[in-house]
């Protein structure tokens, strides 16, 4: 059994907005083991990014606030660390790559300067060593003429190249965990494929664990070992990737998979659609947050929010209903 790297328990984060308090994350628990890739899937506003940002305490506060929970990294609670301690974790042991490579790089600093920062900070390198290492890293992620391009600024790179730089920067201190927050959403399909293949290759070479946040069920199927599906600030289903796609159990997961057109199906069928809209939670829900849109909804769903329970040793679901015959009922 691989070592447990990250153990998040009961994480709760909320935001103060002019319209009221938004409960973005409502008690999320998950684990990540060495060398594992966890896919976190959900629609916008489901709390998937906020969860990961909360773990690294990168939530802007105010308006954000982490209310409860633990995030144990190798046994140490990230949420309780002193600011200097968590800074030593960020970028060095856990690093992040963000969605939009256009805005994630500082426009007035050269790529070389930005690449060197974590190396100087965490690896104790001097400027020359950092420069050499930056070139190696850029070559590793497949940027041609890396040595010449260090002095360039972000606006001189293309979108796909910028995301490669972000990944190189994220990997520069050989972190144990790489959190990728929708890293391919802003990119075109062919570039997206390049980035996914790149990360898969680097994962083999460097052996880090990855948390891959996305709304794209296709990308996750391609890269993740295990998948957690989020809805309304909760993880509502979690299973190894093949298990989840072969045997989706929560009505939301079922609906999501059903609403995708089948690219390799020969005959054309009408898409399944989940009616209604994802919620914004101004109160911590007493009921199951998916109840208003659920086809399996029962009396009990309006009264109690189901907990995430194991239905097999590796498959956890938060639902009162029996959906085992679900595929036919959709």
């Amino acid at each position: 059994m691989a070592e447990l790297l990250l153990d998040v328990q009961g994480l709760e984060t909320r935001f103060k907005t002019p319209e009221g308090i938004v409960h973005a994350v409502n008690g999320v628990s998950f684990t990540l083991s060495e060398g594992e890739t966890l896919g976190v899937v959900g629609e916008s506003g489901c709390g998937k990014s906020v969860t990961m940002l909360s773990c690294l305490r990168l939530i802007a506060s105010p308006p954000g606030e982490i209310v409860a929970g633990k995030a144990l990294f190798l046994g140490q609670d990230l949420l309780k660390m002193a600011p200097e301690e968590i800074r030593k974790v960020r970028g060095a042991k856990i690093s992040m790559v963000f969605q939009d490579p256009m805005t994630s790089l500082n426009p007035v600093m050269s790529i070389g300067q930005q690449m060197a920062e974590p190396l100087l900070l965490h690896m104790g390198m001097n400027k020359e060593q950092a420069r050499k290492r930056s070139i190696e890293l850029l070559e590793l992620v497949g940027i041609p003429n890396a040595a010449d391009r260090l002095k360039d600024y972000p606006h001189q790179y293309s979108g796909g190249m910028r995301q490669r730089v972000m990944i190189a920067m994220g990997l520069s201190c050989i972190p144990q965990i790489l959190i990728a927050d929708e890293p391919t959403t802003a990119l075109d399909v062919t570039i997206q494929a390049q980035i996914v293949e790149l990360v898969k290759r680097l994962r083999e070479e460097l052996g880090m664990a990855i948390i891959w946040i996305t709304h794209d069920l296709g990308v996750v199927a391609n890269i993740a070992h295990r998948v957690a599906v989020m809805y309304g600030g909760y993880i509502i289903e979690e299973a190894p990737v093949k298990e989840l796609y072969a045997n989706p159990t929560h009505p939301y997961t079922l609906g999501l998979l059903g609403s995708l057109p089948k690219i390799n199906a020969s005959e054309r069928t009408r898409l399944y659609s989940i009616e209604g809209m994802p919620p914004v939670l101004y109160q911590k829900p007493q009921a199951c947050p998916f109840a208003p849109r659920c086809t399996f909804v029962q009396e009990r769903c309006w009264k109690e929010n189901p907990a995430l329970v194991n239905i097999t040793p590796t498959h956890r679901v938060a639902c009162w209903a029996d959906t085992t015959s679900g595929s036919e009922r959709l």
């Binding site: 800074r87 030593k88 960020r90 970028g91 426009p107 050269s110 900070l121 600024y153 972000m166």
Partner: protein, 354 residues
């Protein structure tokens, strides 16, 4: 970058044309006789002589011809010397000061420059520092303080603020007198023992090694500097704050934090330089504005700069003189704006490397 600078340079003649046209246009409100004051020291009392002047200087010619003459001057048919021509530094003859406008400028402009130079530093540094602090500690006490400070500041007219500090620091405490220098300094200046290298009193004092003169100059300039800075701080705090707040919400700031950088590094190395880009223009305009906007401050503190001269001339409705100042100011400002634009290009790599 090359194209950028060339474009800005090409704009200069256009700006000069525009600015001079506006001022020349104002000149047209005057009759031809009054306009002849551009060229001669005394109005001849004799009607025939006046007509002669008008003829000689072409003040009855078509307007575009007059404009050209006004810009470049006319050759005196007898002596062959050029008379007039604002582009050659002849801004006309001041009726009220009984000397050519350019002489007033030569005497007074160094004083204004002296004041402006000393005012720039506190204006920029304190204003920007406070704005950054307010944004970093959004809604904290320093932010609230900065906001109050900024609102009160923008609500205080220069002259009210100036008069109030005069009541406190001069009338009651006798610390900082108005004017430019104490009597003993002016005696010293005329004595010839004091070499005037730059004609900026504070700088010359340092160059002569006369700390006492320097302190006297600063003592006289302190209140004007405070007034000029205070009035500009308000705007700076507000603009810096909002620009910084916007920058702090950018993704690359989160990236910087996610790298494990210290908050001070995140703010000073990542956020602030970006926020500065949008402040550069304002900073440039304020520095430029200092040169033009000293009119009131100098008047309140009775400081013999070019602004006070303009105000005095305006009060006596000596139009030729103030228009002369306006042309001079316009030319200086065009130059200063050019410098600001080029600096902007240097700061922002997206412009520099375009």
């Amino acid at each position: 970058m090359g194209t950028y600078i060339v474009r800005r340079l090409l704009l200069v003649p256009l700006l000069i044309f525009g600015v001079t046209i506006i001022i020349f246009g104002m000149l047209q409100f005057l009759g031809p006789i009054e306009r002849s004051a551009l060229y001669v020291r005394d109005f001849p009392k004799n009607d025939k002589q006046i007509q002669g002047l008008i003829k000689k200087y072409g003040l009855d010619r078509p307007i575009y011809e007059q404009y050209w003459r006004w810009l470049t001057g006319v050759k005196d048919p007898i002596s062959g010397e050029r008379e007039g021509g604002v582009l050659f530094g002849d801004f006309g003859y001041s009726r009220t000061a009984s000397q050519p406008v350019i002489n007033i400028i030569k005497n007074r402009f160094p004083n204004t420059l002296d004041l402006a130079l000393w005012a720039v530093f506190p204006m920029l540094s304190v204003g920007i520092w406070l704005g950054v602090q307010a944004a970093v500690h959004q809604n904290g006490w320093i932010d609230q303080l900065a906001r109050i400070f900024s609102i009160v500041g923008t609500s205080f007219p220069t002259f009210v603020f100036g008069l109030l500090v005069l009541i406190v620091f001069y009338a009651n405490l006798q610390w900082f007198p108005p004017g430019k220098m104490s009597d003993w300094v002016s005696v010293l200046l005329y004595s010839g023992d004091f070499k005037q290298y730059t004609h900026l009193l504070s700088i010359d004092a340092l160059l002569n090694g006369r700390i006492d003169v320097f302190l006297d100059a600063m003592r006289h300039m302190f209140l004007p500097i405070l007034t000029l800075s205070y009035i500009n701080w308000a705007t700076f705090v507000r603009v810096t704050r909002s620009s910084m707040l916007e920058t702090l919400r950018m993704d690359y700031v989160t990236t910087a934090r996610a790298k494990g950088l210290k908050e001070s590094v995140v703010i000073n190395k990542h956020a602030r330089p970006n926020a500065m880009i949008s402040i550069t223009t304002l900073a440039g305009m304020s520095v430029v504005g200092l040169l033009g906007g000293v009119v009131i401050t100098e008047t309140v503190f009775n400081y013999p700069g070019i602004g006070k001269a303009a105000a005095d001339a305006a009060q006596q409705l000596d139009v030729v003189t103030i228009l002369g100042f306006a042309v001079f100011n316009g030319l200086i400002l065009i130059l200063a704006n050019l410098v600001v634009d080029i600096m902007y290009g240097i700061i922002d790599p997206r412009v520099r490397l375009a």
